[in-house]
Amino acid sequence: MKSVAGTSDASLVRKARNGDAVAFEVLVRRHYRAAYSVALAILGSGMDAEDVCQDAFIRALERLDDCRNPGKFAAWLLQIVRNRARNYIDYRRVRETVDLDKVVASSGAKTDDATVQAELRGTLQEALAELTELQRQVVLLHDLEGWKHREIAESLGVSEVASRQHLLNARRKLRELLGQELLEEYKNG
């Protein structure tokens, strides 16, 4: 695994096209958080985002020959994630769901730390739900995944200026919703 960890996406994609399982696994590990961020931004539920991520990676593998620019695999993958997430919303409309994150948080079966984490996750997800889908994608890709505005802009098909503006607005709104105290609480612990 270490020998391919620093390999470019383009090279990994070429290897994965020939069925190299290690190369594919590196691609999954490398881009899982970005894929999850986008799925979460669209779906608002961690459990659903995980399902969509898995589905999107398999779909991406099946269609890997369609990836015309393997160097831009991440942007191509995120488009698949968006499409799958939107399809999932349609599917979810006809299916009654229970947010398992909340069930876990209220079950009392977990340790205190896990319960706190689940509560924080729930609070953040509720706050994120108040943003627009674009704002959620920008703030998650930037603040969680660490993408640059240039990369976000390219992936979302917006300008870098627009990406910065969306981030600014998203953060302002999240601060209002979460309150400064809660944000400090995150930082401390």
Partner: protein, 118 residues
């Protein structure tokens, strides 16, 4: 700008290592059949099999074109007479006639021919 960053780490799917590894394993397991199929398709034997059809098609076209060309070309009939060849090689006409008739020339005929060429 980064000072304004909001800590979204509780949402980080890689934070819970066990859960993350289990998600990766689930993806790898679901991807296994497709990866195996891709490995099979990329083997040298599979590549040859894939090439077989286009190669057969190309060979068929080449055979049809060649047959057409061969049928149009008129091959001139070989001359039945050996006179032209004998003359070109400088063989005396009586010798050529002798060969045609399967007759052995006499010694005097050979001397006469030799005298003529001198």
């Amino acid at each position: 700008m980064d000072d304004d960053r909001i800590d979204l780490s509780p949402l980080d799917p890689t934070r819970d290592r066990a859960k993350f590894e289990s998600a990766i394993q689930a993806i790898q397991a679901a991807a296994a059949p497709e990866l195996m199929s891709r490995r099979d398709r990329s083997s040298p034997l599979a590549q040859l099999v894939q090439l077989r059809r286009p190669m057969l098609a190309a060979a068929s076209v080449a055979a049809i074109v060649s047959a057409g060309v061969l049928m149009k070309v008129q091959i001139p009939e070989a001359s039945a007479s050996t006179d032209g060849v004998a003359e070109a090689l400088g063989v005396p006409s009586f010798l050529a006639l002798g060969v045609q008739d399967e007759r052995v020339p006499s010694l005097s005929e050979l001397f006469a021919a030799f005298e003529e060429n001198q």
